[in-house]
């Protein structure tokens, strides 16, 4: 088994047994303008270390997409709707088919906690999720499995980094609709366990900047814990981009003649963010986040995108944008950062 290591990968996350890599990496730093990837042996899964994030996804969760698809789990029936976004999700699922992974780690802005970051901490949750804003569209019967072991590892890692964390072990707890929607759209078979992380609303108590600091730390903790677990993980940021939306609903929710971005400036902001994703400028994107969040009332205020990009150690390679579209006026991008992406090995993809 091999591990792809970026020159920016930190030694502490690779671990002590791989210290001999230092020569190779030093070679990179001195010899190449553009980075190259090095293949190194890693311990097999299950033993200590060697886990990694195989993909990061931006997977927005408007219930409209599940509604329009008419899966057996959802009660309401739709005629159609938001096809281009649903096709985008299809393309992303196609990409995931070629990626081997064990677990999905997801952060959703609709499990809102004010006292730290919480993690679902029981093996199974089964219930009915009714969207409080769109109950006419989303009444979904879920039955999902939690990777409690990994959840606890991320919890512990975050705790040792000084973050306030808590395991959620009440069996009556209802899983939030953002987590369910993004997971359904990403993996409708539900055949992988998930780790569900709450959205710490530090943004309300402090500022987007403080939220970002915490989410960057949580991202690092997530990456380290995944490495220690030996598992292959897909990390999901469950959120739309610009979030100023209509305050009335058309008579037929799936009436596509009514769908458009709420205003042009939102669209400009979304394109600015997407272009940074496409050009691998995720550090800049995160720096821009407070302004973006404020200007476009973006759902990034929940911290999911910052956390996800941090867990990927701020990719400098381009994201694949599978689709962009609006839902009840909000801007939604479906994007993936495939850490096995061939393009990452192509000379000329700059870190700059």
């Amino acid at each position: 088994m091999e591990l792809l290591i970026s020159p920016l990968t930190r030694f502490e996350e690779i671990g002590a047994p791989l210290m001999e890599l230092s020569t190779t990496l030093r070679h990179y730093h001195t010899s190449y303008e553009f980075f190259q990837w090095v293949h190194v042996p890693v311990p097999t899964r299950g033993s200590m270390g060697g886990g990694r994030i195989v993909a990061g996804l931006l997977a927005p969760h408007p219930p409209h997409l599940v509604y329009a698809e008419n899966p057996p789990q959802n009660e309401p029936i739709a005629e159609c709707g938001w096809e281009t976004l649903r096709w985008g999700y299809e393309r992303m699922r196609k990409e995931l088919e070629n990626i081997d992974y064990d677990v999905i780690v997801i952060l959703s802005p609709h499990w809102q906690t004010y006292i730290g970051t919480h993690f679902l901490g029981l093996k199974n949750f089964k219930s009915l999720s009714v969207d409080p804003i769109f109950p006419n569209l989303f009444r979904y019967h879920y039955d999902l499995e939690i990777d409690v072991e990994l959840a606890k590892m991320i919890h512990d890692e975050a705790k040792s980094n000084g973050l306030s964390v808590k395991m959620m072990e009440n069996p009556d707890f209802r899983v939030d609709y953002g987590t369910i929607t993004s997971c359904h759209l990403t993996n409708p078979a539900w055949d992988k366990p998930i780790v569900s992380i709450s959205s710490n609303r530090s943004v309300h108590y402090y500022s987007v900047e403080v939220m970002q600091e915490m989410m960057i730390q949580l991202g690092e903790a997530t990456r380290n814990a995944i490495w220690k677990s030996g598992k292959k993980a897909v990390v999901i940021s469950s959120n739309s981009l610009s979030h100023r939306h209509f305050v009335s609903e058309s008579e037929i929710p799936e009436d596509m003649s009514k769908e458009h971005i709420t205003n042009h400036s939102q669209y400009l902001w979304d394109m600015k963010m997407i272009n940074m994703m496409k050009s691998g400028k995720t550090k800049e994107l995160v720096e821009m986040m407070p302004e973006f969040t404020e200007q476009s009332v973006a759902e990034t205020d929940g911290g999911a995108l910052t956390w996800m990009l941090s867990s990927l150690d701020f990719p400098t390679y381009p994201a694949t944008i599978h689709e962009y579209g609006t839902i009840i006026g909000t801007g939604n991008a479906i994007a993936s950062w495939n850490t096995n992406d061939e393009r990452r090995k192509i000379k000329g993809v700059s870190h700059e």
Partner: protein, 465 residues
């Protein structure tokens, strides 16, 4: 049936601690005791409905009203899940929910009743109803708090609830579920460490409670913007519960107020206070902002016609009667549905006779220019020009769907409900449409029409060859 009225107002906190673990902290236990006092006050008030407005039930698409008769669930709080589960089964007055929703609509608010098994009822409502009405002796109404609504919209929402209460003919206790200062500790604390997050929050809370204790609800309502700035973590656009409560209870200071408890819960300011309406004047109110009766804000972002009013009068109307297919009778789905057993038009020879046509819209039943009265029969300020345009446009549609057109109209009979007020506007619009066509015309004033419209017209037209 005599008019319903508000017999009591309550302010109660949203945190689950008094319900789930009062024994862990003496302050939480005092809140629990005060909840019990509030329950007894409701009993004494002989309230027949409890109406709840919880700041934790956040809506986005307009305003929502719980409409399921027996919502049942085991609720768990997002933050305080470790304190335990909250199983509930409530009794909702479903007629009252419809009444609340219709009242809100007729004041221009986007509203809907939600009636779904498993719809998430918020922690605040679950705590308040569980403690104030443990045996479901009194049916409840629950309304949401729109995330974006500001003062005007919230006050109108409160007034619309008052409309509904009056129409219900019942005695109603209204309950606002909200913290005062809402800044919690962002770290876990031990129960005995609980205190109000900051001295400033504490001072403001005490100021608010002093006003409530003196029955000065309107004064607190007027301070809401300041309160929001000073002691609210700004999760939503404004501190609304006192606006809503003042909207429902009347915007004045004439209450007998009492504060039953004030304690911290995880840093937030939690109080239980009661307000009973009295007749003597406590203090003059000082309005520093416009009073608002109807909401006219930007809530219609979809392309709905400008004058459209979304009041649904379908309850007042008989069901559409099946027309037996009589020779020459014609109806179209593009014109307002008839309110009796008649077709839209009937052909005789080469003439087309139309039934009387008003301005109602085919699909929505909305009345462009607004209805002439609200659901309680109180007159509204309608737009005659918009009504006349819509009326003639409906005629045009029926003519075109029946093989004729406006240009072929030969005779018009118009019925106005208020000749003095409306003739001029009607006559000008009429001239725009028929000035060149010049059919014969008769205009009459009549006492009423079957729906709340101001104009109806009946025409005879030639059929196309």
């Amino acid at each position: 049936m005599s008019e319903g009225k508000v017999v009591l107002g309550l302010v109660v906190p949203a945190h689950p601690h008094p319900l789930l673990c009062p024994e862990k902290n003496p302050g939480w236990a005092r809140l629990r005791e005060a909840y019990e006092q509030a329950r007894l006050i409701i009993e004494e008030s002989e309230a027949e409905i409890i109406l709840i407005y919880s700041t934790l039930w956040i809506s986005i698409i307009g305003h929502q009203f719980q409409g399921l008769k027996n919502p049942e669930w085991v609720h768990v709080d997002h933050d305080f899940h470790y304190l335990g589960s909250m199983p509930y089964k409530f009794l909702i007055d479903t007629n009252f929910a419809e009444n609340l929703c219709n009242s809100a609509k007729s004041r221009g608010l986007e509203s809907r009743v939600v009636s779904y098994n498993g719809f998430p009822i918020d922690t605040g409502t679950v705590v308040a109803l569980s403690l104030l009405n443990p045996d479901n002796r009194i049916p409840a109404g629950i309304c949401s708090s729109n995330m974006y609504s500001n003062r005007a919209e919230t006050i109108v929402l409160g007034k619309s609830a008052n409309d509904a209460i009056k129409r219900s003919g019942k005695k109603v206790a209204v309950v606002v579920v909200s913290s005062l200062s809402n800044r919690m500790f962002t770290e876990p604390i031990k129960p005995h460490e609980d205190k109000i997050h900051s001295q400033k929050d504490d001072e403001w809370n005490r100021k608010i409670l002093q006003f409530l204790d003196e029955g000065r609800l309107e004064d607190v309502s007027q301070l809401s913007r300041e309160i929001h700035q000073q002691i609210r973590v700004q999760k939503v656009v404004s501190f609304k519960p006192m606006w809503w409560l003042a909207g429902v209870m009347g915007q004045h200071n004439n209450f007998s107020g009492k504060v039953h408890a004030y304690e911290p819960v995880h840093g937030a300011g939690c109080a239980i206070a009661s307000l009973i309406p009295i007749s003597d004047n406590v203090e003059n109110k000082e309005y520093d902002e416009d009073d608002v009766e109807e909401y006219k804000g930007d809530r219609e972002v979809l392309d709905i016609p400008k004058f459209e009013d979304t009041v649904n009068f379908s309850d007042d109307e008989p069901e559409i009667n099946e027309i037996k297919n009589v020779e020459g009778s014609l109806s179209t789905t593009r014109a307002p549905k008839p309110v009796g057993a008649y077709p839209h038009a009937r052909k005789v020879g080469n003439l087309l006779y139309l039934s009387g046509v008003g301005p109602r819209q085919a699909k929505s039943n909305a009345i462009p220019g607004g209805p002439i009265r609200n659901l309680e029969g109180e007159p509204l300020n309608y737009d005659m020009r918009a009504q006349t345009i819509a009326c003639i446009e409906n005629i045009k549609t029926i003519l075109e769907d029946s093989g004729s057109c406006l240009e072929d109209v030969v005779d018009v009979t118009s019925f106005l409900i208020n000749m003095q007020r409306d003739f001029k506007d009607y006559n000008e619009i009429y001239a725009d449409y028929f000035g060149e066509i010049k059919p014969t015309r008769t205009t009459l004033e009549i006492r009423g029409l079957p729906t709340p419209i101001a104009v109806e017209m009946k025409v005879i037209a030639k059929l196309k060859d």
